[in-house]
Symmetry: C2
Subunit: 258 residues, 2 copies
């Protein structure tokens, strides 16, 4: 059964793309068939997986706005079991173009339905933009769960409650089955008081939803997208690559408990 | 004469809000009359200046969508010469509500026009969301210049060219007078090779537009919003507060050369 995860946080720079790319890669390296759907017009996940600006001609935009077949726009990556539905520059116009479409929040769910039916992938990860607009809404409606990367900082804490409000609203109106996959602390420097306070507060409120794995600040994670590769292909020994491999193990262990 | 600066970068988490709040505060501490316009529905600048979620009842939304008078929604902050036009939760709906309005990209320019006419402020800084949507467009059309905070990282470099493309488009269609105030490296760790490479590339392309001042990673800058204060009121001796004071001096020196 295909398990679809929206990676979302409307706060900017919390590690959504880095988590999408590296968690997906870690699962693919572990022999799971994984698809990354880049739903962000910035197309950072797309370049991080080897398709810099202009390299991909079709992708999420065509699926959302032109009802293109997902299988026709999905491309390979340097990892055998990791595939990509690219973001292209046209995607910047998708929110406007979808506004008047019937069931405009289900466009991505419709696009991914054949993949679910064919069981092509074990996991699909959708990289969302830093907003709660129509692209993020489509991801939350298409997904089984939402994974929230966040920093242990004050604005991140403020953003978390706004995001959970949106998730509740999506459950109420569009996707009652949507649940929280987990909350992941990224770019994490646990030596600071602020970080400890934020982690404590989030764990108090969300309990076991918060992953034990945290992702430390590690330069390899910001370097690897410039080579179009996930960190485990660029420097598997790095703390960053190892942290996402550990996250993948924790992610899988939790899924087995479901 | 009122000088209006849009603080913009569609890439998330590059230091827009931290720069808006702390540069504005540094100028206000130096006896300039400064207004921060929070144009981001996340309302991070608003809480960073002492108005946590719910505290402000009216603000940028009313000016944009209801043609409210700017002077009627502007509120004070803990700094005598620093004022705030708050973001409120309604602002999340502004982009949708503005879509069919006549001259929808000029709503903020119209709202700020009386302030310019009355010369109430020396400087206005507009905090933008991480997107190139209608709110950012309104800021770029209302502004004299755009200041771009960015990190010295790979995705930030990709984002810079997309942003400059948008600026060119705004100059061509809506605001021919818009110029680049400057590019500011934020959350800057100059010890890494990646950082040095990105700085070199950006300086090569943008020359003197890049500030000599860079803002280092400093925990005080992520802590101070939790106290509703700019860093110079929270810990003026901190590297973060000192860096923004230095930026303010460089900002003013450049303005005098104009
Ligand atoms: N653990 C880490 N260590 C070092 N750098 C990191 C780490 N995680 C992410 N980065 C870098 O920090 C920046 C922000 O991360 P990223 O782009 O993944 O966040 P995001 O939430 O996807 O941002 P946006 O809101 O713009 O989509 C990027 O330049 C990325 O390469
Ligand atoms: N120099 C710094 N040192 C330490 N923390 C910082 C620094 N600059 C910003 N921060 C923190 O890093 C995070 C990102 O910064 P900020 O929110 O200002 O970026 P932004 O570009 O406004 O983000 P968004 O795209 O979501 O609007 C925030 O939690 C902020 O408090
Ligand atoms: Mg991203
Ligand atoms: Mg901000």
């Amino acid at each position: 059964r295909t398990h679809v995860v929206a990676v979302s946080n409307q706060k900017g720079g919390e590690g959504k793309t880095t988590t999408t790319v590296n968690l997906a890669a870690s699962l693919a390296a572990g022999e799971h068939r994984v698809l990354v759907v880049d739903a962000d017009p910035q197309s950072n996940a797309t370049s991080a997986l080897g398709y810099p600006r202009g390299a991909a001609s079709r992708g999420t935009y065509e699926v959302l706005v032109q009802a293109a077949r997902a299988a026709d726009v999905i491309v390979p990556t340097d990892l055998e079991r990791l595939s990509l539905m690219p973001a292209t520059p046209d995607l910047a116009g998708a929110e406007v173009e979808l506004v008047d479409a019937p069931q405009r929040e289900r466009a991505l769910a419709r696009g991914l339905a054949p993949l679910r039916a064919e069981g092509t992938f074990d996991f699909v990860f959708i990289d969302c933009p830093p907003s709660l607009g129509l692209l993020t809404l489509n991801a939350l409606v298409a997904a089984d769960t939402v994974l929230v990367p966040m920093q242990a900082k004050y604005f991140s804490l403020e953003g978390l409650s706004a995001l959970m409000g949106t998730v509740e609203s999506v459950r109420a109106h569009f996707n009652p089955a949507l649940t929280l996959e987990g909350i992941l602390f990224c770019l994490h420097d646990q030596r600071t008081n602020l970080a400890r306070q934020v982690v404590t507060e989030v764990r108090e409120h969300f309990g076991g939803a918060v992953y034990d794995t945290t992702i430390p600040v590690n330069i390899r994670l910001s370097e690897s997208p410039s080579f179009g590769k996930p960190a485990l292909l660029y420097d598997i020994a790095s703390r960053g690559a190892q942290a996402y491999l550990a996250l993948a193990r924790e992610f899988l262990a939790r899924r087995r408990e479901e």
